[in-house]
Symmetry: D4
């Protein structure tokens, strides 16, 4: 249930179009919908501006499917992250038009809205192997109503690749920078612009990268301010954060 | 040299009010001013919207003083972080009106601008011992032209302290949450609002907090999206990031 | 051999119903029963109030089966944790009515006793993916004779889900809180009640959760006192600890 | 304000002995008392059965003193942990009878109550150097109304020292075991009794003890169930947890 | 080539039974035998009293086989550790009587010598799951000519299991103690005897045992002196060290 | 495009043999060639003296093949590291003569140049299991035009194996030393010679080697100066660094 | 009370020279002597062949003094490790002839016995800065009745320094090798001899030595078997272990 | 004793100008000079081309002084690193002209040689606080006979500061890059040039830099090949490595 739907319901009560019992019925599953193994936070859109996103990893195929079914009663578009092929197939049986973004491991069930924010979110990856995480960020931001562009394989080994895209960097409202190995790219990007940077370390690399720890520490210790860091491989969190920021840029 | 100053200079050249040699002289120390031990990045305001901030830790008293002297030629207000009392005293000999924020260990040399952003930045601390880091964030944001409010000692041990300030949380454009020990507060706050949260882990605590590692990991692993994390005790970085975000909320 | 059986034996010796040789025979395998690869601690129920629990991980199928066979001679119900499907199948050949709790990976061979404690143990999980560990705790406490209730998927991302169950929290004698990722839930729960909380970090999450380290540190560093922490994913230890505590609440 | 005081107040309102305005005045500083730098959680005794305890580390002398002053308006006894000599001296100026436990670094301002629980809490230390942490636990439990006994320097290097005190171990309702270095004692103790054990790792040791990490890991990984672990050097948390458990043993 | 063989050769040269050229031929592959991918240290028995032991992990099946072939020319018994079934099968094609100890993952090619040391090496394991590592130690010591006894599943959860075997502990010249999880057993054993203890941490456990780190740190930090620690799961190293020590106990 | 090709092109423009449009066409894909998922850094040979090397891990088979196709337009020999068998098979379909070094997991597509440096690069491995990493280094250096020799299985357990090769060590211009487990060999080698040593820790070992961390720390902490360390298992980086150094030894 | 004294006492009882009450009086403080803050393990010499050693770090000056006083009633020589100058001064007031080994931070109160073991313990240090730890080992072994020699500053940077002392290495029964930084020396030494090596990592070094972690890991991961490792900077533990081993070499 | 001196001595023996006894006297302290607490490696210049460098940290003032005295008998210039002011004062009493580089904490006793290598070593620091480590590298290289230039405060926050010095980077034979915090500069520099880069992480920073671990991991994981890493804050090691490399560039 989103803000608009709640407002309509309350106006219908006031105007007498809906009686108290009917309203109670509609509202009774608030503030969450209990499936036993999951309590779907149906109020989340009201509080946070976007419905709960399903973290599919560690859930059974049946649990994911059932949560999606219940959520489609309230929301036009549902997002499932870190999903498996099998979870997607189960979702498709109940939401036929659902789409699976294999790179991003994301299920999108329902209509992706037209961009509601004019500002641009730019998603940059340092290497080709970082693309799946960058796609997770990009898909998240698109589903949340943003205009998104991608700039892949622009790491510091050939720094002209990012310098040559300076104009694109300047144009964006928020820049998401995804990097593994030494994770130096977010600092370089942040030093060139006056907009917030969301840094996403990835587990790409080997040896002393310790599954992404190296890139994470690099980003946290950047001598360049204006960077917010999310968890290793957390493209979703970056896309979400970028969306909250980009929304601020809109004249309401 | 800020954007306005550069534009004036170029217009003066075009109009003939300033000849090429004079312009060259003015511009010659671009893009940085080399003191030998430091290369002051005089273009930083042009690129990033705010002049270079001096990281005083590890610099001698004389180095800090000399950098401030050189920077005052270009900028109306200069910020020095992680400064000692002695560094401040040296700065005051060259910039008499400079102020020292003892909690935040910040030197402000010059005029703090009137807030140029209407949006509110709210700085929350989980405990009393986290206040110095929260103040570092707040002073940074104020010097960068923001309206800032403080809400201190609102940790999860008495969760009603944050729930009772729900209205204030909702009002802010960006919320900075500073917490040591288990660092759970940013996740709780982010779950209640639809604005970006900047999370700052602090080294407050003992034992298995490992000087802030505990709070840092908590914030990175939050199941609540919409959080960007900065380094342990990095109030400055949080204030800077919040300022970049808050500026997006302005109609230009 | 439990306390009651031992007492009977000794009284039989005193009354002459059992001669010394017979008693020696009965007692000869005390204080442990040596299988070569395992020394079954047959006195454990006497010392600790509950027989040895079999840690199945790392044991062969045959070893688990043989230990169960030997233990059923002394105890009405035997618990095997971190068991595989194959180990269970082997146990079922010797204890036909044995039950396998697939979620909890627990074998229960024998009768689960009626709850002998009136006090309630409440098992709370932060997310759906934490349920297996929570079930491990719940099954353990049930086998040890406790009344157990479950409250799943009540994490801090939607904090009203736990606040709305305040009455249930207050009712319990002990609350087990199972959480992965940032592991903030135990602190929030402990802050609301005046009963002991057993905190169980799980390895649920990714990246900088470092297989549960993040949640573990959070729980150890909680600013809320009244929390005892067990090993990552150690639902069994939590259920056992809760049982020892709950027993104290009984009038003997 | 404790439960009794609140009940009296409400009965006075019902009986007309106190008017609404007077009640409002009494209740107005609920649920917390805001000093700016601290929000004293005045409801904590209602929720948790014991007032907020002051974590003195990282607070200024003046902050500690002011918090104590404000809290004495509501509570007969106040506990301050990790306090310095100087903080204590400041407290003594406002609460003349306040006592400083130098070993435990604890300020007790007010009357320690007579033990209200009949059950015994036994505090065991592995070595002499662990005594300060053990004392922190013991003082906390005493201030919370428990009967406490101490058994110091009983580590596994001479295991007969703990085995010879078996009777004392059996007598206790809860045993707090404090150990540094390899931290093996809690597991040995837990294996001998059928009561809950609270394990406190200390930072005592050197080299690969990594400031208590070694003892912490030992306790978390104990093959003996029935142990709840608290943070390194967190005697306070252990005393608090033990008190919550011991209270369950009382017939109310 | 062992010391005896070398002495004979030199005496044969002196006595004229072997001419210089023949001796040169015999000695030419000293001090190592180069296979390209491996330099077999043929002098190791002379220097260390036992021939090189083959660390099979990370070597191909063919490499292990070829090294064994070459070594059998010099030594009556060859030991291969961390061997796979496949490596063993290949060895058996060239040394038909070779034996595979599946638990210990050890290949023994050749005759195990009669015990040459009278002293006893006792190998103790804390749990059943630690047996493979304990067997690795025991087989190593047996191949090196020692009398070895085994005492398995004697961990601290039921401390009487080790106390009841006190006599056996006292009898040994060296005690190898193998333990996972919290790894407390070596300290308890060392505290009971006046002989050296070799402690072997294992990776048995889960969660915060961090693949054996927990047990390793426990053993290094033991408050009981007289313990030498080897690498996690390094039964071979323990058996080797014990053999060197046991040999000192012989009257030569 | 290498330096020679670029110079020819510019001279052709100057002499009129090539018109501006033709030159533009040739240069248009400078400074990188954008495939969407990858930006091939075509200028790298100009800047660094060797074309970009493809890090195949984490790239799809198709991506590797397409990058190779595009690069063969500019370079006579292309190197792909950490490649799979499948990636190689795909490359072979487009570059028939491509060779796969299975040990080194390296694809070499094109002609390996004759050694252009007279100086010798010596690649030493401590054990047989370290050979794959040593081969990665050796193949890299060979492809970059160096004379390379190998000396395998020369670890400190039989220190005469390295001392006996002293002459070979002295002959080399640069020595690459590859070692796992305790990683002591580079320090011993560096102490014997007056040439730079490149140290490569490997993940060979088990237990407390923590996947190569042990060898890495050993090499970084060597009391012997003259050692540069690369990432764990990074034979490629070592070979590349050695090539840059060896080139300095040439009279140009 | 040592074995001899106990035997005499029992013989005196048998012969009637001492009556039961007198014997009880003498034995009453067995098996430990309780000072409240310490339980002196008076039986330790009986069990372990050497009286309890006082770990002075973390004990007050008065505690150390009182423990020494009580122990001198039972033992001819007492050893206190990690002692401060002040603790020593206090001991000297009660045991006038006590000696302080400043390097080793060891108090020796009483007569050092003549060497009772013929075998040699050789103590080797890699660097000059490692001498204090090496001295701690040497003094411990001397006080326990061993013949000890020292060989300092023989690290791998100049490996001939250890090779030139080969004869001395061969002569020893046990070799203690003390090394900081990369800690490679114990492996090199062990590879040259056929006697057990006790390896002591020290915290000497900086940066990525992580206070001795580097040397510790090196020693644990040595590819050379025959090494037992003790805690970082634990010279005492090494001297104690070496003494237990050396005693085995005696014909009794 | 250097190579030249040794050659002269031997020629003098051959020609009869020096008799055997005299030569023996001269050579008798070979290959090291034993002071008891130190074995000065007098052959190191012969083996490594430069005499032993004194690591002063952890040595007493007297030890440093005595080592210098002894070494001046053999070498014209002696280098002491990580020296204290007090150590320097003691050295000056025996070598009056000795110089102390306070930034680098380096004692230079004797004549710095004229540059013997034509190639340039460029020392770059990322920040002002990194200068002491950069100076340690620069002084080392100068004492070893190299031409050295410095380029300080050129970090990635203002990347034009390094790009503008491109010409200087290209000119150097070896570039030493010193950086703390995120340590990204070496990768950026290496990507721009075709010469070897020595990367030195520093402990400059705070929080999650973990005393230089962050910068260290960044440098090890760089996606740019051609970088050799030394220990945290190890300017000396970098200068030494750079000198060995630079010497290769000379035509001999």
């Amino acid at each position: 249930m989103n803000r608009e739907q709640l407002k309509n319901l309350l106006e219908n009560v006031r105007s007498g179009q809906m009686n108290i019992d009917q309203a109670m019925e509609r509202l009774k599953n608030l503030p969450y919908d209990d499936l036993g193994f999951a309590k779907i936070d149906t109020h989340r859109q009201l509080r946070r501006g976007f419905p709960e996103v399903i973290f599919c990893q560690g859930k059974t195929v049946a649990q994911v499917r059932d949560i999606v079914v219940r959520m489609t009663e309230h929301h036009p578009v549902i997002l499932g992250m870190r999903a498996s092929e099998a979870q997607y197939e189960a979702v498709r049986t109940v939401v036929p038009g659902a789409v699976f973004h294999a790179d991003a491991k994301a299920i999108v069930a329902g209509e992706i809205p037209k961009p509601v924010c004019r500002g641009l979110i730019l998603t940059v990856s340092a290497g080709t192997a970082d693309i799946p995480v960058a796609e997770e960020a990009a898909v998240t931001a698109e589903v949340m109503g943003n205009r998104v562009e991608r700039l892949f394989d622009a790491g510091v080994a050939g720094i002209h690749r990012i310098l040559n895209n300076h104009k694109k960097l300047i144009e964006a409202n928020v820049v998401i920078v995804v990097a593994g190995m030494e994770g130096a790219l977010p600092g370089v990007v942040a030093g060139l612009i006056d907009k917030p940077v969301i840094a996403v370390p990835t587990s790409v690399g080997y040896g002393a990268n310790f599954n992404g720890l190296s890139a994470l520490l690099t980003m946290l210790n950047s001598c360049v301010p204006g960077i917010g860091v999310v968890n290793i491989d957390n493209g979703f969190g970056a896309g979400y954060m970028a969306s909250l920021i980009n929304r601020l840029g809109e004249t309401e």
